[in-house]
């Protein structure tokens, strides 16, 4: 079968107008804002060494912050600002998606523009500057008629670097809720769909190259005083922006948005929910790859309408409780505290996706380990791996305290690689998920937790405040409640981790729906 006939490719292409359009709009807005701030600052700083030093150091420091972290930081920052504006001025704005992504990228774009503008302006021959003064130009006229035009090639080179950086880094805005070409990459990584990952990378790279070349055309046009080239480059950029605006204007916005966190199960469940809504005649779209805290805030502020969370996660992470309650009591408590934020805990799906300590069955049997209590005695000689969140979560602190666990080494990895790592002996124990299909696939065993140090993690449907009384939505979702058991979810997750054409979240969601209705 030719790679071009792969259904994953056509599925990816179906999303392209949406992802590419969002990506271009985000990049253009960030770059424009970045230029609007950097250019005047650079001009102001060119004759002020102190300001110049401060600006360039600041921009350099920003550059050393990893893009993902910078983007992630803007979410809580804006959230705080939004709550302040609500308190002081009576309005708030969305701290989710476009705004934090644009601000972070604008900040990210500043260094090359600042540096090149200052360098370009300072590189103008002093004899020419004196001539400009001598023929009777005011400082302003000298700046606009002589200095900026002469520095333009260097400034444009900075803008080109910025544009490429911004377009590349914009792929990282997916976890804070901004749709971008990064959606392909994050979705592909989580579901081990490499076609998607490559698709996203190639699309982002092509976009960067096209924009870079258009800017190069403008640069050459300006340098050679060729209006034709400048105009062609400008028209090219304008056409690109216009082309990405039209489809999103023409398409009516989806009325329901289904959120998904960053792992395969969430992709499948969000696809399943969207399919149920569509089957009920409601229009629905998904926002996937959102971070744990981002997704909850997004729901609380009605940016998304529904998503699946886990009782223990909400309890420990969202509400910072260290104590562990029995399952029913925990759900009842959660319902109350969520209700205070007008969030509806609509019901349980029927399975639990708990953290669990997992190791190969043979190894566990050889060492005589059945429970975490047994494991504690061997731990000093063993290594453990967890996902990026696990070791920072209160459950880990609770586990260590309850059993006196102390491992020889601990490592963080991408969750989908953990199982293969523990199966191959790369690490001895992993903090896996009970609903993961790979547990059966690799013949791993889940260790008992006799002290109940790990809270229950029932998968629950949460509804946004505005959907508290939305009968149409609730009717469409009701058939899912209590229907998905752990075996079905494990198998669905196993299917989603495959890398064939049937492993896309949408296909697996259809399979899951058939399975629970059989």
């Amino acid at each position: 079968m030719s790679i071009f006939a792969d259904p994953r490719l056509s599925e990816a292409t179906a999303h392209l107008p949406d992802y590419l359009g969002n990506h271009v709009r985000l990049s253009v807005a960030a770059l424009a804002l970045g230029l609007l701030v950097s250019l005047p600052l650079a001009i102001a700083a060119r004759k002020r060494p102190l300001l110049r030093g401060v600006l360039l150091s600041f921009a350099s420091i920003v550059q050393t912050v990893p893009g993902l972290a910078l983007l992630a930081l803007f979410f809580p920052l804006l959230l705080a600002v939004a709550s302040l504006t609500l308190k002081w001025f009576g309005f708030e704005f969305s701290a989710f998606g476009f705004l934090p992504a644009m601000l972070a990228l604008a900040l990210y774009s500043m260094l090359p523009v600042l540096r090149n503008t200052i360098t370009g302006l300072n590189g103008v021959d002093p004899a020419i500057l004196e001539a400009a003064q001598g023929v009777g130009m005011t400082p302003r006229q000298s700046l606009f008629m002589v200095e900026l035009p002469l520095a333009l090639p260097v400034i444009m080179a900075g803008i080109r670097t910025s544009a490429v950086w911004v377009i590349g880094t914009a792929t990282l805005s997916t976890p804070i809720g901004q749709t971008s070409l990064g959606n392909y990459i994050f979705a592909g990584l989580q579901t081990q769909n490499w076609v998607l990952v490559v698709y996203g990378c190639v699309a982002a790279a092509l976009l960067a190259i096209v924009v870079d070349q258009l800017l190069a055309l403008i640069e050459v046009g300006l340098r050679r005083r060729s209006r034709l080239r400048t105009a062609l480059g400008g028209i090219g950029i304008a056409a690109l922006v216009a082309a990405t605006l039209i489809p999103s204007l023409a398409r009516p916005g989806a009325s329901y948005v289904v959120g998904a966190k960053t792992f395969a199960e969430q992709y499948v469940l969000s696809a399943l929910i969207a399919q149920r809504l569509q089957a009920a005649g409601l229009s629905a779209s998904t926002r996937q790859g959102l971070g744990s805290n981002v997704i909850f805030e997004a729901l609380a502020s009605n940016e998304i309408d529904v998503y699946v969370d886990y009782s223990g996660t909400l309890w420990a992470n969202q509400f910072h409780h260290a104590d562990i309650l029995p399952r029913e009591q925990l759900l009842a408590e959660l319902k109350t505290v969520l209700g205070r934020q007008n969030i509806t805990l609509f019901g349980e799906l029927g399975f639990e996706n708990a953290y669990a300590l997992v190791m190969p069955r043979k190894r566990a049997e050889a060492l005589g380990i059945r429970s975490i209590a047994d494991l504690a005695a061997h731990a000093p000689l063993l290594s453990i791996a967890g996902d990026y969140e696990f070791f920072a979560r209160p459950e880990w602190a609770g586990l260590r305290k309850a059993y006196g666990l102390a491992f020889r080494a601990q490592r963080q990895m991408q969750s989908d690689f953990m199982y293969a790592a523990v199966a191959s002996g790369e690490v001895d124990v992993i903090a896996g998920y009970t609903s993961d299909g790979l547990i059966a696939k690799y013949d791993l065993v889940v260790l008992d937790d006799p002290k109940h140090a790990i809270p229950p993690y029932d998968a629950v449907l949460l509804l946004a405040p505005t959907r508290a009384h939305d009968e149409a939505l609730q009717a469409a979702l009701r058939p899912l409640l209590g229907r998905i058991d752990i075996a079905a979810m494990r198998e669905a997750n196993l299917r989603a981790s495959g890398s064939n054409a049937e492993s896309s979240p949408a296909s697996v969601a259809r399979w899951l729906w058939d399975k629970i209705n059989r």
Partner: protein, 260 residues
Amino acid sequence: MPTAPLIAYAHVSKSFAGTAAVDDVSLEVNQGELLAIVGGSGSGKTTLLRLATRLVEADSGRITVEGEDVRALDPVRLRRRIGYVFQSGGLFPHFSVADNIGITPRLLGAGPAEISARVDELLELVRLDGALHRDRLPRELSGGQQQRVGVARALAAKPHIVLMDEPFGALDPLTRDALGDDYRALHRRLRLTTLMITHDMTEALLLADRVAVMHAGRLLAVAAPAQLADSDDPYVMELLRTPRRRIERLTTLLPGDGAA
């Protein structure tokens, strides 16, 4: 006899970082006069020129241009009414020849048609073929042509005063000679008052009505070429030695008609 001086320096001093660049200089440039300031590098001659258009500000003393104290004038307007020819042209590399020449009228608010006519007039005045040169960029011209454009630019706003900072210094001797003569003719024809800086005593003697000699920020002598020889200042004598020696050698090398 000339009337009131067009440019007058009275006890002017200027220091840079504690070093006196111009030290208590008094000098008057009369109307219609071409005065050359001669001195080595670091003599303060360029600073003296810049002081007149407030490209640098004097520490003490008084400078007047056409009778007005420069400190009372807006520096930008002052510069627009004084022509300035820069060392090696100082042309704007991204401006065409016509745009370079027309810049000061443009800054003064002249219309495009007026500027265009003035540019043609000036190209003719400095003997450049307008059709051939007006749309070219400075880098497409020879050094001599660039300096002609520089002169045209200085004259564009019809100034009474022209300041020249080693205008012909970077040119080959033939071009330099031709340009010097051409400028001298223009100076007379347009009734300009010119203050010119040069490090070449021969050039100063041949072109100027009066020659001022500067050394280490001080004005050592000001006199017409014929009277300069009367100076008993050793530095002035030293400067005059070079042209004299050249004359002697040239007379032996190239005997004149009278000897034949």
